[in-house]
Amino acid sequence: MSEAVRTEAVVLRTMKYGETSVIVTLYTKEFGKVSGIVKGARQTKGRFGSSFQPMAQLRAMIYRKEGRDLQTIGQCDVVNDFRHIHDELPKMALGMKLIELVQMISHEEANANLFDLLVSALAALDVAEGDFTLLFPWFVVSLCFLLGFEPTFHECVSCGRKKSPSGPPASRLRFHLERGGVLCDECAGTTGPALNVRRSIIDLLDRIAQASDPELILALAASREERAEMDMLLWAYLRQHVAGIRPLKSEKVFAKILPDS
């Protein structure tokens, strides 16, 4: 039995189909990840306009049938096309990282909080001026919270004591990937997968984790080396807790296009 439903969605991916149509993958608020065919989407004078660009936030009419892999997508209204993300390559790079990650980890089940998180990250990126690169670690930490394995950066994940008293930023703390947090000096010998991470990175991630609003992240800054180390930790953490995590295609391409970022 087919039903017509209206839901908010973010476009994750589009693929040409036939002469004028597209197959689009959406992350929807009501139904999670949905793939559908949009007939006539690529016609110049078509009714869809720029609706199906990756990252666009839409209100979509979906004709859903249980058990069908490819639904039919009808009329869509653009809620926000986040067009400023399309104006600069660094913003495009980060925006594509976000949607590619959501595509990788999401399923056909609703997670309205994940949808809201994605939209708020894209909205912050759209209007950001200056350094916006920490939006990605903020997104990943918030995502981990939504998926039920929030990492702990301010106290020992083993014994609950405050993490080791402050030391030089370059000194290292042990981060236990399985338990999901830093270890104090006494618990540092705990067996299991773990990484040694600079204290400055842990402190920065702690501040990021406490920011409820992505706009607060825009006031923070990190060097290229700090961002690389943060990314390494967060990806290792995601791989530990989420099946199917693989390197992002878009990140590999942008590394060639933006070698200085």
């Binding site: 002469e19 720029s50 990252m55 096309d81 590619e100 060639k256």
Partner: protein, 198 residues
């Protein structure tokens, strides 16, 4: 279990490989071929082989051609100092139909598509940069108005501007015959941004 003869089944399989052709369309095409006179089928088969044997890429502009350089690149009446960059050979055909453009082309073979893993090494970017001699005064970026086209436009602009050439792009806006009322917000915004004096 096969309800059709092997040869017909094989033909249907071949047609079904073509883009946009599903099983039903493939079957319809195969049955149409069956009804054609033998000479017409032979002509079709010869045309298919001919295009594969004769067509190649022009090593200047990377468009399809039977001769290298292609008729556009070797035409002395065309302006070799303007290069119009497009994604695919179809785009060259579309622009040529206007009869308005008299410069040369460069076919990239696609656009940057980071979400699909397509990067600059998969496109004819180096080959474009090699063509930018001091005589070339303008490069027109005629890429599709989507995120891949945008990414490619920004990337190529960054590479081309230091070479001292004027870099331009196609205007964006309401198509002829379109209605403002039905234009989407992004198109209308771009049209307003790109307004010109009358």
């Amino acid at each position: 279990m096969l309800y059709t003869a092997d040869s017909l089944h094989e033909l249907i399989e071949e047609f079904a490989q073509l883009p946009g052709i599903g099983r039903k369309s493939a079957q319809r095409l195969a049955l149409y071929i069956l009804k054609l006179p033998k000479e017409e089928v032979a002509a079709m088969a010869a045309a298919l082989m001919n295009v594969k044997e004769k067509m190649r890429y022009c090593t200047t502009c990377w468009n399809f051609t039977e001769t290298d350089p292609c008729p556009v690149c070797s035409n002395p009446k065309r302006d070799a100092n303007i290069i119009c960059v497009v994604e695919e050979p179809n785009d060259v055909m579309a622009i040529e139909k206007t009869n308005d453009y008299r410069g040369h082309y460069h076919v990239l073979g696609g656009a940057l598509a980071p979400l699909e893993g397509i990067g600059p090494e998969d496109l004819k970017v180096k080959e474009l940069l090699v063509r930018i001699t001091p005589e070339v005064h303008e490069v027109i970026l005629a890429l599709n108005p989507n995120i891949e086209g945008e990414a490619t436009t920004i990337y190529l602009t960054r590479l081309l501007k230091p070479l001292g050439v004027d870099v331009t792009r196609l205007a964006r806006g309401i198509p002829i015959g379109g209605d403002l009322e039905f234009a989407d917000e992004a198109t209308l915004s771009r049209a307003i941004e790109g307004r010109v004096a009358v």
